[in-house]
């Protein structure tokens, strides 16, 4: 039963200018023996490379999650086996907090693994990867907590779990069932690590900006804040206040048309680029709060239509 009030989307307000109380008074020093942010990435690369994954580089477009990378979305379709791992910068314009919230970022990194078809030892592999970055399952409390994954914009869903370590969500594990509206032939295992959150846990810090990015002699180390704090401030201002919404709406329409045109020519990959573009433009418009509740559903539907068309073009191209 749906409670009346909850049946309706609430308007989420984006506020800023508030200094977080616990930021100033926390002694937020990373554990010295823990892996640095970049070493966690390098360790995961080595780990998954040994499992036969191709180590890809980030896709060169703005996207909301590593799942959007064609190496996951499109490769999850069709009958060819596939193993890949990569870092994907993920942009969630609405999650920006002007660098003032210790846990929220409008730009963060996901580590993404896809293995198709899903191997019988997927859970064991995953746990071994956590062990590799310093989380010992004999000392920590690892759990697989129900999490049904669904992406309305990608027309995709799967079943799996949130991976919990001591009550902290350190990853999402999904068995893909459908992508782009198409039931998959070979279900993939997809694993997404939220790298910042994972690193915060490994290093024992409570503020993302305190993360130790690299290992360097005293005084020369770089923190996450050194790298990204200014970007968080500037992009938050851009996302919430200054992005030109007329231009974004125009670009959305352009991307939508271009995607459809390219699908018509059977060019699944370039078409899919424009689908990704449209999705990000929608996220920006959403952050600027110029999309009404009713329009919101329609925008999501339009992106899904593109994603489906791209998925169909991809499958058709594979079969040819």
């Amino acid at each position: 039963m749906v409670h009346c009030e909850n049946a309706f989307p609430y308007v989420k307000i984006h506020q800023h200018g508030f200094k977080h109380a616990s930021m100033a008074d926390t002694n937020d020093t990373p554990i010295a023996s823990a892996l640095s942010f970049q070493d966690i990435i390098l360790t995961l690369h080595r780990f998954w490379a040994r499992q036969g994954c191709v180590i890809l580089q980030p896709y060169d477009m703005e996207m909301g999650a590593g799942t959007f990378h064609p190496a996951t979305t499109l490769r999850a379709l069709g009958g060819e086996p596939w193993r890949a791992a990569y870092v994907q910068p993920s942009r969630r314009p609405s999650d920006g907090r002007y660098g003032e919230n210790p846990n929220r970022l409008q730009h963060y990194y996901q580590y993404q693994v896809i293995i198709k078809p899903s191997p019988a030892d997927a859970q064991d592999l995953l746990l071994a990867s956590y062990r590799a970055i310093g989380l010992d399952p004999k000392r920590h409390d690892f759990r697989f907590v129900e999490d049904d994954w669904e992406s309305p914009t990608l027309g995709a869903w799967g079943l799996g779990w949130e991976i919990w370590c001591d009550g902290m969500e350190v990853g999402q594990f999904t068995y893909f069932q459908q992508v782009g509206g198409i039931a998959v032939d070979l279900p993939s295992f997809e694993m997404t690590y939220g790298l910042e959150r994972l690193a915060m846990y490994v290093q024992g810090v409570e503020n993302v900006y305190s993360l130790r990015f690299n290992d360097a002699p005293a005084g020369q180390g770089v923190t996450y804040g050194d790298v990204f704090l200014r970007a968080e401030r500037e992009y938050s201002a851009h996302n919430f206040e200054f992005a030109d919404t007329d231009m974004l709406i125009r670009h959305f329409g352009d991307a939508e048309r271009e995607c459809a045109a390219l699908v018509g020519r059977g060019l699944a990959l370039p078409a899919y680029d424009y689908c990704i573009k449209a999705s990000h433009l929608f996220n920006l418009l959403d952050a600027r709060r110029v999309i009404s509740v009713a329009e919101r559903a329609s925008y999501i539907g339009r992106v899904r239509t593109l994603a489906k068309a791209c998925a169909e073009a991809w499958v058709a191209g594979e079969a040819a």
């Binding site: 616990s22 846990n103 409390d141 079943l159 069932q177």
Partner: protein, 666 residues
């Protein structure tokens, strides 16, 4: 008897699905094994396994079946064909009545053959899940999560069964981290004992008991008590194979958050139990259940969970501090941009409607001008917290946050309780201001959705209108509010809907069906408190000897009337005293009593009027019985007869002002 044992080992099954899956497994196995006379059937469930065991016969019993053949009178070739088809001879036939029958022996089927049969595997494979999935190598087969093993044993020997991509064997695994690796299963008892040694408590009740006791003990050591939560306990039981209860500390500064905020985050996001100190106040500790006895005694696990909670609550503190930088009133204009429902306008329009209605209800409840004003104000602000940051983050806190953010405590109290009652065990608001706002909210919802035709159907009630109606009823009854509901509602369809829910509610509480029908069919009453009292009083009354005698007398009169009215049409209730038979006075006495009672009914509208009315009715049975004993209704003189029937109609009329006695049974 042999022991049958089945274990279905898989990746983690969602906690909420385990118990029902086990119950369904039990139903299916017992059905499949029915011919083997299963005894002591048991199921077990947990995050990674479902299991079943029973003692069964070694084979189904031998039996006969009679196959009906052709008629005895049928031509010869028909019988020949039947015998050929069944590979039988004439000697095998028996003749019963007009037919030949072929008696055939059914050979016993061994237990292994039943279990290894196609029907058995198909029944297992079709075990329903709320959502199921395919995985690498499963082909078209789907299960709730990937299947990893099936143990299927008959007295310790593997019976081959194939479930999707998995063939049965005798190997299973213990705790994922504390006892990895496979071991051999030989029986249910050995399986359970070996798993216990491998840190898996397979019996869910046992796990639940361990967690309950562990919580008590761990909290007790710190002088704390646990805030009980049966739903959370069940969920946690389904999340662990080896429960270890631990206690973590809450950052002292975060105890300044409203307890509802803190405890919601703890429960929903983290599955933590809240604690209370000796004085019953929220204590700065939480209890949780790990799935492992860690080699450091749980120190890292506790530290980790404390850190996670600190971050969660820091997020909540952020919204708590931010939201309070403005007065609640200042958020009101933002409701303009929140759509309540596509056909029902914005939350701001809704708030204005609720405000107006809350004021009118407060007046109807007899509130003074100041309190009416408070009800209007609370009504207008009751939805405002929907646009605050905290409710955006935690929708479950709607109402609660408005209560904290309101300046006036009376307004705050009314806002915080206006969604109540949210369920059968939830309390109702108290006080005229809070009741007025809570009623206004629900009545507005009912009226608006009825207006656009979104009324509940047999199975669907997407806007929870039944709950809203029940809320109206419970607020009125449990506070004893005397309101003319029909006038307040200004909507007869909604009134009828609420009365129907009242009937369902009172039936559920054990009120007699016929008594409710009698009360609801009688006077057009819209005072729910009085309706409930009347049902109560009538049920009591007809259980007394006097009541029963009056009911019998009423029936006798009503029967006569029914028969005569079928011939003559309805009788009026004006009697002519001159036509009474003067010799015994029975008619006159009955008439006089009825007149007095009718006059007495003027107090009906007042407090406890119904008991008075029933007391009056009690005095009626004697004159009615005398009337029937001494008077012949169908007198020879048509005028006298008509007058006597009118007297009976008058009796019926008076009694029907109390209840429709014709609806009473027994």
């Amino acid at each position: 008897m042999a022991e049958f044992f089945l274990e279905i080992f898989s990746e983690e099954i969602p906690a909420r699905m385990q118990a029902e899956a086990a119950a369904e497994l039990m139903r299916r196995m017992v059905a499949q094994l029915a011919l083997l006379d299963p005894q002591d059937a048991r199921v077990w469930y947990g995050p990674r396994r479902l299991a079943f065991a029973a003692r069964i016969g070694s084979a189904t019993a031998a039996s006969d079946e009679d196959v009906r053949g052709p008629r005895v009178s049928a031509p010869g070739p028909a019988l020949d064909g039947f015998l050929r088809k069944n590979a039988a001879s004439r000697d095998d036939l028996v003749q019963e009545g007009e037919f030949y029958y072929l008696r055939r022996a059914i050979a016993p089927v061994t237990a292994a053959a039943v279990i290894g049969g196609a029907a058995f595997a198909a029944s297992l494979a079709a075990l329903p899940w709320p959502k199921s999935m395919r995985w690498g190598g499963s082909g078209a087969f789907s299960w709730v999560r990937p299947l990893r093993g099936v143990v299927c044993l008959l007295d310790g020997a593997v019976v081959p069964v194939v479930l999707g991509p998995v063939a049965s064997g005798d190997q299973t695994e213990g705790h994922r981290f504390m006892a990895p690796g496979a071991f051999t299963v030989t029986s249910a008892a050995q399986w359970q004992a070996d798993l216990q040694a491998r840190y898996v408590i397979v019996d869910a009740d046992e796990r639940r008991r361990m967690i309950g006791e562990g919580l008590l003990a761990a909290a007790g050591e710190k002088g704390l008590s646990i805030v009980e939560d049966a739903g959370l306990l069940d969920e946690v039981t389904g999340l662990v194979e080896y429960p270890v209860v631990l206690i973590g500390a809450i950052e002292p500064s975060q105890m300044a958050l409203p307890p509802e905020v803190r405890e919601l985050s703890m429960k929903v996001n983290q599955r933590y139990f809240a604690t209370r100190d000796a004085a019953g106040q929220p204590a700065p500790f939480f209890a949780f259940v790990a799935n492992i006895a860690a080699d450091d005694g749980g120190a890292a696990i506790i530290a980790g969970n404390e850190r996670v909670l600190r971050a969660r609550l820091a997020d909540a503190e952020h919204f708590w501090n931010l939201d309070r930088q403005q007065a609640l009133e200042d958020y009101l204009p933002r409701l303009q941009s929140v759509v309540f429902h596509a056909k029902l306008g914005t939350q701001l329009e809704r708030a204005e409607r609720i405000a107006g209605l809350a004021g009118r209800i407060a007046e109807a409840l007899g509130a003074d001008a100041d309190h009416v004003q408070l009800a209007v104000q609370a009504g207008r602000l009751c939805k405002v917290d929907l646009v605050t940051g905290m409710v955006g983050e935690f929708p479950e806190l709607q109402g609660i946050m408005g209560g904290y953010y309101a300046d006036d405590p009376a307004v705050g109290a009314a806002i915080s309780t206006h969604y109540q009652p949210k369920g059968p065990t939830d309390g109702v608001p108290e006080g005229e201001v809070a009741c007025a706002v809570a009623l206004a909210d629900k009545i507005d919802t009912l009226r608006e959705f009825f207006r656009i035709g979104e009324t509940p159907t047999g199975s669907g009630d997407p806007y929870a209108l039944r709950r809203a109606a029940l809320g109206v009823i419970r607020i009125i009854l449990e506070n004893g509010l005397r309101v003319r509901l029909r006038a307040l509602l200004e909507n007869d369809a909604v009134f009828d809907f609420i009365i129907e829910r009242l009937r369902v509610k009172l039936r559920g509480e054990g009120k007699r069906f016929d008594v409710l029908n009698a009360i609801l069919a009688a006077a057009d009453d819209d005072d729910l408190v009085r309706i409930a009292q009347r049902a109560e009083a009538l049920e009591r009354f007809i259980a007394t000897e006097t009541g029963d005698r009056l009911l019998q007398a009423y029936r006798r009169g009503a029967n006569i009337l029914r028969i005569e009215e079928a011939k003559d049409g309805p009788y009026q209730t004006e009697v002519i005293p001159d036509r009474f038979d003067g010799s015994n006075g029975a008619e006159a006495k009955l008439n006089e009593r009825l007149n007095q009672i009718a006059q007495g009914f003027n107090v009906f509208a007042q407090e406890n009027g119904f008991d008075f009315v029933l007391n009056e009715l009690e005095t009626l049975h004697a004159p009615v019985e005398t009337f029937f004993n001494e008077v012949t209704v169908n007198a020879a003189d048509p005028a006298v007869r008509r007058n006597r029937l009118r007297l009976l109609a008058k009796l019926r009329d008076v009694m029907h002002r109390v209840a429709d006695f014709s609806k009473l049974e027994g």
